[in-house]
Symmetry: C2
Subunit: 333 residues, 2 copies
């Protein structure tokens, strides 16, 4: 069957130990021995059993990744950043999706632990108590990417959601908008709360009454944006601007407005968030917040590895820079 250290040892006449050390590039081996063993390894097509090594070394060089929905382009991009960076650092990833379901998240946490991941990068639900409890006693380093968990904010790498929505809302208000629709993201996700907070805060600051019917719940998908606006229009709601939880929602909004022949941005201004690839190719091109998704994944891995190397390294919240991209869906000066 497959070659093992011991079959190589038998073949070459050296001990298992020596073979192991040669193949791991250990020093203190004669050049001749090294050459002999390497040649035999090649001939016998030796491939190390990483599992056995992991078990012995008590590290798997595996990073667990918990995502809400890896088919969402926003997460997909983050995960790609994670995977690429991990690979460069000699790690690999074990990916699990939760579909925003706390029970799935609990299960994932246990499985990743059983599979002995060295660390964890998660996009968690917000404040489910079971989930929180599991994170708190998770025995390996962990980081939250782009989302946070109540009480564990120090583990998070974030964008400043609240500030961003605040700034955008304020900008709209200053331009004279008085009826600004806000379409939220999925329940139980920290960004949904933070971004909504930014909107509300800006309204209050500028004495704009908060009208509940202008805050429309959504699951953060294209169809949600479409339905939200479609319904708002049918209800006869009047508004001159729409701020969307993300670009997917905004894409749906654009479509709904377009169907009703409502011109964007002349009649209604629309802004998204995330700057997905598609944003700039929509018609009109979407004004949105550029958030460094790939970079978030990369940063999360690099930071996590530091924590893996030094278990005493203190955690602290990290914020990544973002930048508004004003395109055609808003009126710009």
């Amino acid at each position: 069957m497959a070659a093992t250290l011991s079959s190589l040892a038998k073949e070459t006449g050296f001990s298992v130990n020596t073979v192991s050390r040669v193949l791991r590039g250990d020093k203190n081996i004669s050049a001749k021995t090294t050459q002999l063993i390497k040649k035999a390894a090649e001939e016998m097509e030796y491939i190390p059993n990483y599992i056995a090594g992991s078990m012995r070394r008590k590290e798997t060089k595996t990073i667990g990744v918990i995502s809400a929905d890896s088919s969402n382009p926003f997460f997909a991009e983050i995960i790609l950043g994670i995977e690429e960076t991990a690979k460069k650092q000699g790690y690999h990833i074990l990916l699990m999706n939760t579909e925003e379901n706390p029970e799935n998240e609990c299960a994932a946490l246990k499985i990743l632990q059983a599979r002995q991941v060295d660390g964890l990068i998660s996009m968690p639900v917000y404040n489910d108590e079971h989930v929180m409890a599991l994170y708190e006693k998770f025995p390996h380093p962990y980081l939250f990417a782009g989302r946070k968990v109540l009480g564990l904010e120090k583990h998070a790498i974030l964008f400043d959601d609240a500030r961003t929505t605040h700034d955008l809302t304020q900008r709209f208000i200053k331009k004279g908008h008085r009826r600004i629709l806000y379409i939220t993201g999925p329940a139980m996700v920290s960004n949904t709360f933070d971004r909504l907070y930014g909107y509300v805060y800006a309204c209050i600051k500028h004495n704009l009454p908060i009208n509940r019917s202008y805050i429309i719940k959504s699951g953060g998908h294209i169809k949600d944006g479409y339905k939200a606006v479609d319904k708002a229009l049918k209800k006869g709601l009047e508004f001159t601007a729409v701020i969307c939880f993300n670009d997917l929602v905004a894409a749906g909004v654009l479509r709904a407005l377009n169907e009703q022949k409502i011109r964007v941005p002349e009649k209604i201004e629309v802004a998204g968030c995330d700057n997905l690839d598609i944003a700039k190719y929509l018609t009109p091109a979407l004004s949105t917040l550029e958030v460094p998704k790939h970079r978030l994944g990369e940063k999360a891995v690099l930071e996590l590895i530091e924590h893996i190397k030094d278990k005493d390294r203190p955690y602290k919240t990290i914020y990544l820079k973002t930048r508004m991209m004003f395109r055609e869906s808003t009126l710009n000066d």
Copy 2:
């Protein structure tokens, strides 16, 4: 530290073996013993070391997944299908991206082997000889999802690319189109060849001369579609229909035509492929081929598991059904 079987054995006074069997739900254990041990396990927060078990059992319940680019919504959806189905079947996934680079694919293949995956689902490059050689001697069951490798077609689960593009092209020709632009996908990917073949075949069949300048190479991304049409327009190329390798390309095409105020579908008909979520929300809504992406992932896992269970199970190419969705970007009857 973390509880192990032997620490549980010490605690309860039973042997390691008994503890192991209780926790795995083995029969032939007295109810009292079961209860005692389960309680102790809970109290000591025992989490099995899956790595150790894997090594002993010589199966990891892990499926390796090789994707070209998991941030591409098409692959992302397939991978989601893989992950969900695998989880249901007690498997988990190790995800690696190749960026369509054969060298990365070779490296991935070796790493997955070292990590002792039980099987592999891959979206491979087309016919790189090193890659092919590695698949041929890959010691575990493997399947190709949505793509194929020359000489290993039996391992593939596919959509009938050639036929689909053929039918679509033929449809356009029958409607009177004489200048049909075809925008290809990335080099080295089987679908690129097969879909192009369908286009060419339909042209030949209907005595439409193949004009090389109407076949435009692209990498399969939005910006490629945009650039392709932008360039074609600037070159003064005349055409009345565009068939795109996929929906991303088509989205770019739509945008480019829109910028030039060329009306779709009245002046130019456009069709994509894949039916991404976004397709139906573009303006105009994109006519495209619905391919069951999630289902492809699911089918690949279920089929792979059959091969894992029965190493002698013969491989055979599987085709999944697709369906054209005619929406606003084409003139329909």
